[in-house]
Subunit: 224 residues, 2 copies
DNA sequence: GCGATGTTTCGGCATGGACCGAAGCATCGC
DNA sequence: GCGATGCTTCGGTCCATGCCGAAACATCGC
């Protein structure tokens, strides 16, 4: 259930029961405990109750757990779920930023262009990167509150991708990139999933501005 | 047990059984499972078997879990352990770097002097900071392999301190600072604990070089 | 109002896992 | 060699937890 909430959206108790593959009473019990201990927050809306992660700290914890879990020796258990897996690996949200092939690709492209400098431990958005992102519409000003004191540089957090085993952009910068991509219609959420779809407009932007290729998935994109 | 291993040292099965408050067979069973799943690594030495965390990813996961756990609502359960608590809050190792009042104080001092710039998401060691740390003996060269590509700046990772609720220095920089402080005799490990003691020499360095005050604890320091 | 839908509470079952004592190995000191 | 120490395996007990079905409660659409 927590994994399902990792995309930052709020899901109803029933949806969470379904994704977890348990009956409603079971899910309800777990959700009550997780809310009581502060892992998740709930907001009632009509006859639905929407649950979401209580904050970024919980998301970071889950990411850290998944990092360890995904690098564990290939035990007898397989978590692969088949058909949905492909879309998830290609592009998905990771709490508040983008992951998967798309997320890693964007991070690589920004790095190659000198817009972002990323190490295992931290990252910097360069001045050129500021200008580039502002030019394509990101609200860079909102990020500046978090910049390092003297150098004036905007720092960002790397996040290890469990499917690609590579680092992508998280933190405020990653969140803004994801938010803007959604608002600008470059990507679109697949209903009931963490996966996102790259639209035609997005494909053009990611190709022309970022230099990314092959970001459009075959299935379903024609409808967009 | 994992918490006990979080200071980066390797402990024997018996020691881990003791800190966990369980019988040897119980500890042995848990340790076997944790080793099988890759959480910990073991090295046999004579009739002892030394267990340690298998890598930084596990430490990051535990830190992330502790961050969430420490900010949980003050439930009925209390984890406070009393006498040892004070020394732990004052200065301790956190996998491979320093935490507690000392760790946070060093991070604050370096920030105030403009040697380090730290945000919630990431940090930078400035050029002045490089020079400063090199002057007091740190192996800054070893860090340079991890610097950001173009700006030449060394990045570091912030780590939320569960006792101070503030950020301190982790990552390669934090590890080097901790290692050097131990080698130079500025701090000393308290046997069988994550807590460290600030020596007279360390107190002088932390006061004169970093501008920290009150880093010597009353108890026990006279013996040094 | 009334049935339909979403959610929680209650009761009870069953599995799993946490634990320990006793015994079996391995290694150390001598 | 032999006893002492450290660790693991084995066997068995016991409690906690996960789970579900039935029923209660709340809200919606009408």
């Amino acid at each position: 259930m927590l994994h399902a909430l990792l995309d930052g959206r709020a899901l109803t108790a029933g949806e969470l029961a379904r994704v977890a593959g348990v009956a409603a009473p079971t899910a309800s019990g777990h959700l009550a405990k997780m809310e009581e201990t502060g892992l998740i927050a709930v907001v009632a809306q009509g006859r639905h109750r929407y649950f979401r992660l209580s904050g970024p700290a919980v998301a970071r914890m889950l990411e850290a757990i998944m990092e360890v879990a995904s690098s564990a020796p290939p035990g007898p258990r397989k978590l692969s779920v088949g058909p949905k897996e492909k879309a998830l690996r290609h592009a998905r949200t990771c709490y508040d930023h983008l992951a998967g092939t798309l997320g890693v690709g964007l991070a690589d492209a920004l790095t190659a262009a000198g817009h972002v400098e990323l190490t295992e431990e931290a990252g910097i958005l360069t001045e050129g990167g500021c200008a580039f992102l502002a030019a394509i519409g990101l609200n860079v000003e909102a990020l500046k509150a978090r910049r390092a004191a003297r150098s004036g540089r905007i720092l960002c957090r790397p996040c290890l991708d469990w499917s690609e085993r590579r680092f992508h952009l998280a933190g405020a910068l990653g969140a803004e990139l994801c938010t803007h991509s959604l608002q600008a219609g470059w990507i679109r959420r697949l209903p009931g999933s963490r996966a996102v779809l790259v639209t035609r407009a997005g494909e053009r932007v990611f190709r022309e501005e970022f230099g990314l290729r092959g970001m459009v998935e075959e299935t379903g994109v024609a409808a967009l």
